[in-house]
Symmetry: C2
């Protein structure tokens, strides 16, 4: 114990000196106790900005590799990270930072076409910088006043794009699309099964029993298409419903939910009140997909909303990927019917190129979110404003508006986390900079580029070496294709299954070869209908046409070599 | 449709021109299609850095207000945010950015003592800058090779601090302590109830029925102290167990779980196999708290581990706040017993001042996490390395190590989200810069400062005007105190309850007045034992002593005025 801390301090004393009090204090800790954060931050930020822009510039060179190491094994063999007991100098930290960049994937090449996100827009980087500086927690508005306002503005703006009443709608950013989908599921559970809060799934089941259902008929069921994102399965697992509670609705050839089949399955489950069949259960939730992960398909929201209306089901839309088509006058029809849906997940960090993460969970009737809240006396304080509102004699709509303001004092209470990053700022600044029209044009450009790539595969110079996968009539941003045998090998391929197997092998070979060459990053995925694997590339509105053209040629060439070798073998 | 997209492209063509193809393209979108991201980012980053450092510098001035607006109502009356249809100029965006800073809380004042986090360390800001630039998703290692390695290094380093075998342990960053606690609960559910995966809570309940338990005895129960964080309640609600499944164990006067009572409650629940009493259920999970939210108490992990060992329960430690004491040789004894626990949540974004969010969920036996994974063919590809490992004839420990490497190819599969930000980089760079010793010294300095503040309240010049709340013998970083009546008013206060009510009113008055003065941000909270509300301030290792001294004096002065006014009234 330092002497200075033993005597009761009767007057202001100098700040505690770490170095005197602690034999294990390092030089870094000592310096830290003295220096202004502003001065120190100025150095770090300047170095980080210089490294970042150099990283981008290097990526923008024509021949820059998209990644330094083909596989994790190569990386592990060449890079080792260690955590020291004693601190390092600032220069050593700068070297670590540089090494982080040098050994990472470089999305600024424009040739990272592997995932549904790509290089972030520079204005998004500015938003991230402010978020880091402010370090404000979005759980209560008093700690993050402006970030909360920005979230509120984005929620209202997105609600308007959905055709919802923005004074009744509400929502919040979540740490990703999976989390947004999960919050929708949890909120729907609370709404449909008031016993869920205290009694959990067992409580919901007891209520279903009380309503005359028995056995497996007394379990909540959710419905989603076979092409929907796996986060619906994970949400069902994590929320205690279990994977068996997820009914997978078949899709048509374009990857869209078969809505007639949805209704049949809902009725089949609901009508079996004694739970005789394995399919029995109480439907309460349907997830529709706006932009599926593999094919980029959009479910027919209007038709699904009709089914949900007839059967009293919550309709959630997973628009994590495709949701931003709402910004485009030309393509927003793909989500026609959204005005009648209950909730929407939308991730500006994908199609709109906001930095990771930026995901919103939106609710048409925001008051549904109050079911998620707990009374936490030490954190969520009722203000005198709240109390005024409760005792007021306002009109119903004014009361709804007051209730919304009260809710937004404590956004954290609406979800299942506590602390929250102010991710909405990224969309807020993007929207400011480009406007709704500019973001719409960005979406349009992506559609156009994908259509062009699709045409190149089907009709371009390598058409005889490439098979285009099945795709929606209105192609979104994914193009799935794979090598096929040159026509003079066709005789060797007998039967659909064997063709698919061989082309799947060719696809994996293309994938491995592209990774080894490090010029393009693409992914592969199995397509529906047991077609086997296809290369899935995700175009982004800024992808260069010359690069896409080169990639298509490269896939054809690698595939040709593969088939030639397999012919010889 | 633009003509250029209709003809099949037979040769590389220039990139699509957005402006030609889209009548709704804005000037911003056009510029965007042309300019290098590096050039654009250089401008944004330079402006953001200049604004950020100016914000910090302004905060570091002696008289800087901690917030611009006392309440949200004031903010709303003065600031309106709008989202435009047409884009704005860069200069207009810069003005928006500046407005974000101008109207926010300024943690660099050092007088934001309201929450468990405060100003982030500058090296953390550099980490955030790199994360934004890399924009790499931590769900698969191929997309985020270096960020995954940094996560792996931090997980191993933290596991070693816990005394765990780092080759068997595993874990990952999560978007906050609540999420980390929830993942532990979900993983424990999977582990204890294999039927949970497919059948959910109903499946777990069926299994309990099959084991001879009936009625409410066939429900899973979790145990946590009455002073634990509300995220355990939220996790139970969100995971479908329900709030009734949370058994709140009483605490001692210092806010620590009463371990004898824990064991009694566990036995009472477990032994009632017919579910006669409301307390019946199947215990499977205990949450211990390392650093409680209000008092900063540490549960006795060794004693709780004994109970969990005897009854076969998963022992999770919510060290979101207090976990970093593991870095301090002097204070790590507060978590003695952690070596025997199953999982730990720890948030470097709180005590270690990494930027928000930086939270880890750590598991002593990492293979438990595989229970959370789904086979997602389009995302998590089995590599040829994995296949080799499966067919190998390695020793058991080498197999465990190979299994860990395979798991770490797809960190996203271990949790319930999909996309993930590489938050570990913040701890990685902090640890590099300060070393384990430097971070330990940081922790030590916080303890010392809190002790000094506590002494000042109890024995300083305003001791007769202040009541120090109950606190742990080994005081952590929170100091709870409130105004009390000067001795010549004491006669007016009759009885414990009335005293608490009056002092609670005084505390709220202090809180409101401090907010209005905008010099300090502190919080208030109800203390256990029906003592009513106390001011809770959270010291941070960099908090200036002069500021703390001034705050204590100000609380005493505002309280004195309050009591004088209430005496007169």
């Amino acid at each position: 114990m330092a002497p200075s801390a033993q005597a009761p301090a009767a007057a202001p004393a100098p700040p505690p000196k770490l170095s005197a009090a602690h034999t294990n204090g390092t030089a870094a800790a000592e310096a830290d106790a003295r220096e202004s954060y502003a001065d120190e931050a100025a150095r770090y930020l300047a170095r980080a900005a210089a490294m970042s822009t150099a990283f981008m510039r290097a990526g923008e060179l024509a021949d820059a590799p998209v990644a330094r190491w083909p596989t994790s094994r190569d990386l592990r063999a060449n890079v080792r990270l260690a955590l020291p007991d004693a601190g390092a100098s600032e220069e050593e930290v700068f070297a670590s930072m540089q090494s982080m960049l040098d050994n990472s994937v470089n999305p600024y090449t424009g040739r990272f076409l592997d995932k549904l996100y790509s290089a972030p827009r520079p204005v998004g980087l500015a938003a991230e910088a402010l978020l880091a500086t402010l370090n404000a927690n979005g759980h209560v508005m008093s700690a993050s006043p402006m970030l909360s306002l920005a979230e509120e503005a984005c929620v209202a703006g997105l609600a308007q794009l959905c055709g919802w009443d923005a004074t009744l709608a509400d929502g919040m950013t979540m740490p990703g699309g999976s989390a947004s989908n999960t919050l929708a599921l949890q909120t729907a559970l609370q709404r449909h099964f008031p016993a869920f809060r205290d009694g959990g799934v067992l409580g919901a089941s007891l209520a279903l029993h009380a309503s005359g259902r028995s056995g497996r008929a007394a379990r909540p069921l959710l419905f989603t298409s076979s092409q929907s994102h796996y986060s619906l399965d994970k949400a069902a697992m994590g929320c205690g419903l279990g994977l068996d509670a997820v009914v997978k609705v078949p899709c048509d050839a374009q990857g869209r939910m078969n809505v007639a089949e949805l209704e049949r399955l809902v009725e089949e489950a609901a009508n079996d009140t004694e739970g005789r069949a394995a399919s029995a259960g109480a439907p309460f939730f349907v997830n529709a997909t706006a932009g599926s992960t593999v094919l980029g398909s959009f479910d027919d929201l209007d038709a699904i909303a009709d089914v949900c209306g007839r059967h009293g089901l919550w309709l959630h839309v997973d628009g994590s990927w495709g949701g931003p088509v709402l910004f485009s006058e030309r393509w927003r029809h793909l989500m026609h019917g959204i005005a009648r849906c209950d909730s929407l997940a939308i991730n500006p960090h994908k199609l709109l190129n906001a930095p990771l993460q930026c995901s919103f969970a939106l609710f048409r009737r925001g008051e549904a979110l109050t079911a998620n809240s707990l009374d936490v006396a030490y954190l969520f304080h009722e203000t005198s404003d709240d109390a005024d509102a409760q005792h007021s004699t306002l009109s119903a709509s004014a009361q709804a508006s007051e209730a919304r303001l009260a809710r937004r004092e404590h956004p954290g209470s609406m979800a299942y986390g506590c602390g929250r990053r102010g991710d909405a700022l990224k969309l807020y600044l993007l929207w400011q900079r480009y406007g709704r029209h500019g973001l719409g044009a960005h979406v349009d450009a992506g559609f156009e580029l994908a259509k062009r790539v699709s045409q190149l595969v089907r009709e371009g110079p390598h058409a005889n070496l490439l098979e285009l996968g099945p795709q929606p009539d209105e192609l979104f941003l994914q193009v799935c294709f794979r090598p096929k045998e040159p026509s003079h090998h066709a005789a060797a391929v007998d039967g659909q299954t064997r063709t698919c197997l061989l082309r799947t092998k060719a696809t994996r070979h293309v994938y491995d070869t592209l990774r080894a060459r490090r010029r393009f990053a693409v992914d592969f995925a199995p397509l529906p209908g047991d077609l086997g694997d296809f290369i899935r590339l995700v175009v982004h509105p800024r992808t260069a046409w010359t690069d896409l053209h080169a990639l298509v040629a490269e896939v054809a060439e690698i595939g040709q070599d593969f088939f030639a070798a397999s012919q010889t073998a």
